[in-house]
């Protein structure tokens, strides 16, 4: 029955469209509230983000992939390194190990224009002042 495999007792196993919309709105409000708080740059985290960018550039050198460094995107506390290309070739794959410890998550997906996109997301670039 429970195709989503949730264990939470309040969840009855089926999302209605209205519930999904409400959940999404609630999450958006939480994010807006977080983003509107006064924050300072987390320098250590920013250095990690920059290090990962450097390693990624090294790994993809010569592959023709476009590597973009996007701090504070889509939110001020989040940064993304995105790699886009038709055939992305990584050398020095041993650099994935330090990146694995630094990045919050990695996504690899096909785009509609025939290219692949890889996003490495870094949370915590800013911290709110309590």
């Amino acid at each position: 029955m429970d195709e989503y495999n949730f264990d939470d007792e309040w969840f009855d196993g089926e999302f209605e469209d209205e519930e999904v919309s409400e959940t999404i709105l609630a999450m958006a409000e939480m994010i807006n509230e977080d983003e509107s708080r006064t924050s300072v740059l987390n320098l250590e985290r920013m250095k990690q983000f920059q290090l990962a960018y450097g390693l990624t550039k090294t790994m993809t050198k010569g592959s023709g992939a476009k590597v973009a460094f996007k701090p504070h995107s889509p939110y001020q506390s989040v940064g993304v390194i995105s790699i886009v290309g038709k055939n992305i070739r990584f050398l020095h794959t041993e650099y994935f190990k330090p990146i694995s410890k630094l990045a919050s998550n990695i996504e690899i997906y096909p785009r509609t224009d025939g290219r692949v996109q890889i996003n490495m997301t870094f949370h915590g670039l800013t911290v709110p002042i309590e």
């Binding site: 038709k86 070739r89 994935f96 694995s100 998550n105 690899i108 096909p110 890889i118």
Partner: protein, 117 residues
């Protein structure tokens, strides 16, 4: 997806290649075991990300082993995810799109052969 385990596919291609490389080369068992560990991790990736197929190719000259996994979109959140384990022993990772919903990941491994003499 019902598929042969990755290492089974690799083993059969390695066996064929071994015959071709002849007596001047022999398989290094430690390297083979390292390859097997990576294959187990790739099996996990195939299961998690809707793997469609495996393909194994061995370069005649460099003897590098390329293992291609066709699968869906990949999302890795955990620091100890099998994705990183699969990459442990590789010398290259190639990623390309097959179609709007499918990727091909090529894991390139170094040769598992040493000179026999």
């Amino acid at each position: 997806m019902n598929f042969s385990k990755c290492f089974n596919a690799v083993s059969s291609v390695v066996e064929e290649a071994n015959k071709q490389f002849g007596i001047t080369w022999r398989i290094n068992n430690n390297k083979k075991m390292a390859l097997e560990r990576s294959c187990l991790a790739i099996d996990s990736l195939a299961e998690e990300f809707d793997g469609v197929s495996f393909e194994v190719n061995i370069d005649d000259i460099t003897m590098e082993i390329k293992l291609s996994l066709v699968c869906g979109e990949i999302i890795v959140k955990e620091k100890d995810h099998k994705f990183y384990e699969a990459l442990n022993n590789t010398i290259g990772l190639w990623v390309k799109e097959i179609d709007d919903s499918t990727l091909q990941l090529d894991f390139v491994f170094p040769s598992i052969w040493d000179r026999a003499i």
